[in-house]
């Protein structure tokens, strides 16, 4: 039976194996390839999306678990926090190979949406699940601070 969900504000109906991870449903069936495969075990964060605004590893989230829910991917990222994060990412030239950066940005924007002025410890806690083999971590940290500084403290929303 088809599973209904909302992806980037668009209603979607998917007739796939209910166990299929959201990651592969997004990539292979909805052609939303901005969300990346890195490990398949929620170890690297490359597949991070927002489910009802919460940063979630889509590689271990069965599609059946998101029936009726709102999913946001990098392609649909909007709102003040998301835009501020992307602006800071470009401004500081964070990406190198860039493969993990969709996941990094989704984790960072969820962090800022809930915590307008994260400390370094907050950043460590929110971002330690996202691996970057190019080790762009110094710039990721700087970009999160820059994005936070660009947002009015009371207005940060994903």
């Amino acid at each position: 039976m088809a599973i209904k969900l909302t992806v980037n504000n668009q209603p979607q109906e998917l007739d796939v194996d209910p166990d299929m991870p959201l990651l592969w449903a997004l990539r292979d069936h909805l052609k939303l390839t901005g969300t990346k495969f890195g490990c398949g075990m929620a170890l690297c964060g490359a597949c991070t999306v927002h489910i009802e605004g919460q940063a979630t590893r889509s590689c271990v989230t069965p599609i059946s678990a998101v029936a009726g829910k709102n999913v946001t991917t990098i392609e649909g990222l909007s709102g003040d926090a998301g835009k501020a994060v992307q602006t800071a990412w470009v401004s500081l030239d964070v990406p190198q190979c860039g493969y993990c950066q969709s996941g990094q940005i989704m984790s960072a924007s969820a962090l800022l949406a809930g915590n307008a002025k994260p400390t370094d410890a907050d950043i460590d806690a929110a971002m330690a699940g996202n691996i970057c083999r190019c080790a762009t971590y110094v710039r990721i940290r700087a970009a999160i601070h820059q994005a936070a500084d660009s947002l009015p403290a009371s207005q940060a929303k994903s």
């Binding site: 292979d28 052609k31 890195g38 990098i74 990406p95 971002m127």
Partner: protein, 758 residues
């Protein structure tokens, strides 16, 4: 450098020889204009690389209808630099366009980058050999290789745009100026490149052009950062990697490979796999059994249901523990070959006042790029098309042709951005690309195939940095002078038995020992040997290759010699580097910026932690890097608090990319020093994914990294690798300063090292 002059050894290798035979050597700096709507500058080679017009998600349009250009100015006022090197994060899509933009006096905002087709010698790597008959990225050569070509390309383009303006305005070309992408005349007339491109494209090529004097550079070396041309696409999820390629009717495949290296398929029971919904085929290929399905999840489920029995009679069944035991026994033994010999090290050691003995062990390491290996292949009659983050384009082309039963020129290579590689995508067999082609062929070429390696495939799939053993004996005179060094290295050869074997000299694989001779530190008596281990574990170059272990050994030994001599580690190194002023200057700069001459609170702190400071300096791939690090050791775990780096890479074309690469090298090297290890038990790889193959995370990255670039007017060398070798030993030296613990095995295990008498 390990990839220098590979072309001669490759010329004897059948697939590539066939490719080379089809190409007439031309003067690679002979530019020409190519008909088009704008100005296109290329070299005189008749072949044309055209897109098939297939849709690749995320790429707008198709590569243009052009013949082998370096630079294209379109009527929409964009300037596109056609990059022959893969963008794998190291910044070539920014650095190479910067070279053109400088000579062209373009505006940075109009610059674009795209990958070239696979074609030699047009896009050959001249750092790999003067004939340019191999296209590839490696050895940190991209900038060095493209520097002269692209400066000329930019200068020719500028001259032609200026001439077009002179003709249009009927003024002498000498009165025309170009700045920030605008062509102007004192009369007030102005035009963009785009407005002049069509007319410029019809002009004859100027006979000669004058390159700028480096003192005239506005963009190159500027601290006013040039935005990376790929930052936006990589911050919005719109950059297309091979894994994102979607072709009509395409199927996705995963491969079940043997659990032990060298095992072969004995029998296949594919009934359960074929019963998985979405699975369309199960086929045997030379390297395993492929499950082909309508989507990735179905392919993975199919593979889980697949039953294969393996013939393991020729498989590697040894454990890494047993291998190191063998390496220790082989070291300096009858199979050892000479790497370096001067003076009489044995005699000098007998009379030395102090002799120090060291043994080091380095594990296998997986590259683990964030994008696992992926390639899409499409076969049609007489044609094969590949989409991948190719690092060895013409080698991949030749291997794909052989797998497809075609000629190399029938294979089109689309080089996409690679989601990291660190050397993994550059291998003589083009393993993952050949797998994709083999699956497409085994399924009758009925549909395009995208092969995806899972992370488990990546971690267990081999082609690791070779496990390596070093034994060093060093002697000091009464006054602390280094009088003799003996070093025996044991590891597998990356080159032996491959098309690169021709690069081995006198039986020595340079990639096994590079950086391990006594070139940096002067010593009268030296004897260095290498013993080749024969193990059935596939190995490969891993970011900075042999330097990953030789620099560690050299710099840890240097530090302990300084301690034994009662000298400061920086001063002691400098005393041995009189003939290496460039390296010495880099070391001095790092030490000065780190405040090395100021007291550091070394040892046990009030909170029970230990603090220490360490240094290392190493030259690799023509670039010298020194790191000074400050560490805190708490309950046996090492935290790097601060890194001060100095780098001499010749002219730093895009300084911010240089800094980014130093940061990246530091993080990548720390992963290896602190955590990186692939081990085998009875031939089976123990690690499968990031929970067992641990890599550095954001909370473990040094918070403070300062990078200082040595001003230089020398031509640029590379920065993708050279920051990696010295970070591990700098940290080891800091740990010893902090705790007295001598780290001889990687990754660091302080408790084990403390318990071991060294």
């Amino acid at each position: 450098m390990y990839l220098r002059n590979i072309e001669d050894s490759l010329a004897t290798w059948p697939p590539l020889a066939r490719l080379a035979a089809n190409i007439t050597r031309r003067d690679f700096l002979k530019f020409t204009t190519i008909a088009g709507s704008g100005l296109t500058l290329g070299v005189v080679i008749p072949a044309v690389a055209k897109s098939t017009g297939l849709t690749v998600l995320g790429i707008e349009g198709t590569p243009g209808d052009y013949s082998t250009p370096f630079v294209r100015i379109d009527t929409d006022n964009t300037v596109t630099v056609i990059c022959k090197h893969v963008e794998a994060g190291q910044g070539v899509w920014t650095g190479l366009p910067a070279v053109v933009a400088e000579e062209l006096d373009a505006s940075w905002s109009q610059m674009r980058a795209e990958s070239s087709p696979a074609q030699v010698p047009t896009y050959g790597n001249f750092a790999f050999g003067p004939k340019g008959n191999v296209q590839g990225t490696g050895g940190s050569t991209s900038m060095a290789n493209s520097w002269d070509q692209l400066r000329h390309a930019g200068a020719y383009a500028r001259a032609m745009v200026v001439q077009a303006a002179a003709n249009r305005w009927k003024v002498p070309a000498s009165e025309i100026t170009v700045s920030d992408g605008v062509v102007s005349h004192s009369s007030g007339k102005k035009a963009t490149f785009g407005e002049l491109a069509a007319a410029a494209g019809k002009l004859p090529l100027p006979k000669d052009v004058k390159l700028k004097d480096p003192s005239q550079f506005k963009l190159i070396g500027s601290e006013k950062r040039l935005q990376r041309l790929d930052s936006h696409s990589k911050s919005t999820g719109t950059q297309t990697f091979a894994i994102d390629v979607m072709l009509p009717d395409m199927m996705t495949a995963v491969v079940l490979r043997p659990p032990r290296f060298g095992a072969k398929v004995q029998s296949i029971d594919s009934a359960a796999a074929k019963a998985v919904p979405g699975v369309v085929d199960v086929v045997q290929i030379p390297r395993g059994v492929a499950v082909v399905a309508r989507d990735t999840w179905s392919a993975k489920k199919g593979r889980e249901a697949l039953k294969v029995t393996w013939d393991e009679s020729n498989a590697e069944k040894r454990s890494t523990e047993a291998l190191f035991k063998e390496y220790r026994q082989m070291s300096g033994g009858p199979d050892a070959v000479k790497v370096e010999k001067k003076g009489d090290a044995d005699a000098a050691l007998k009379t030395a006042a102090k002799v120090l003995d060291f043994e080091f062990e380095f594990p296998y390491l997986a590259h683990a790029p964030m994008e696992p290996l992926t390639a899409a292949a499409k076969l049609s009659p007489g044609k094969c098309e590949i989409w991948a983050g190719c690092q060895f384009q013409t080698i991949d082309q030749a291997n794909a042709a052989q797998a497809a039963g075609l000629k190399p020129e029938q294979v089109t290579i689309n080089t996409l951005a690679a989601g990291g590689t660190f050397g993994r995508r550059a291998n003589a067999e083009s393993d993952y690309i050949v797998e994709a082609v083999s699956i497409a062929k085994a399924t009758g070429g009925n549909y395009p195939v995208k092969l995806i390696w899972t992370r488990e495939d990546d971690i267990t799939g081999g082609r690791y940095r070779p496990a390596t053993y070093h034994h060093v004996t060093a002697g000091l005179s009464q006054d602390g002078k280094l009088v003799a060094v003996k070093q025996d290295v044991v590891n597998q050869s990356i080159m032996a038995g491959t098309p690169f074997a021709g690069m081995m000299k006198e039986g020595v694989d340079p990639t096994s020992v590079e950086g391990g001779t006594t070139e940096q530190y002067e010593v009268e008596n030296a004897h260095v040997t290498w013993t080749q281990a024969k193990v059935g574990v596939p190995i490969l170059w891993w970011r900075s290759v042999g330097h990953t272990h030789t620099a560690f050994v050299k710099e840890v030994v240097a530090d302990e010699l300084a301690a034994a001599a009662g000298k400061d580690p920086v001063a002691y190194r400098l005393s041995l580097m009189e003939k290496h002023p460039r390296s010495a200057a880099v070391l001095k700069l790092a030490a000065e910026k780190a405040g090395w001459d100021k007291p550091f609170p070394t040892g046990k702190a009030a909170n029970g932690s230990f603090r220490g400071r360490g240094v290392a300096v190493h030259e690799s791939f023509g670039t010298v890097v020194a790191h000074v690090v400050e560490v805190t050791v708490t309950d046996g775990s090492v935290k790097v608090d601060r890194v001060v780096t100095a780098v001499d890479c010749g002219i730093a074309v895009t300084p911010d990319v240089v800094r980014a690469q130093m940061q990246s090298c530091i993080g990548y090297g720390l992963s290896a020093a602190l955590y990186g290890k692939i081990s085998l038990t009875d031939g089976r790889v123990d690690q499968t994914n990031f929970h067992q193959y641990r890599v550095l995370r954001i909370n473990e990255m040094p918070r403070s990294i300062e990078i200082h670039i040595v001003p230089s007017t020398n031509p640029p060398s590379g920065v993708g690798e050279p920051g990696t070798p010295p970070i591990g030993p700098a940290v080891a030296n800091a740990v010893r300063a902090a705790t007295g613990i001598k780290l001889r095995k990687l990754p660091f295990d302080l408790a084990a090292a403390k318990a071991t008498k060294t």
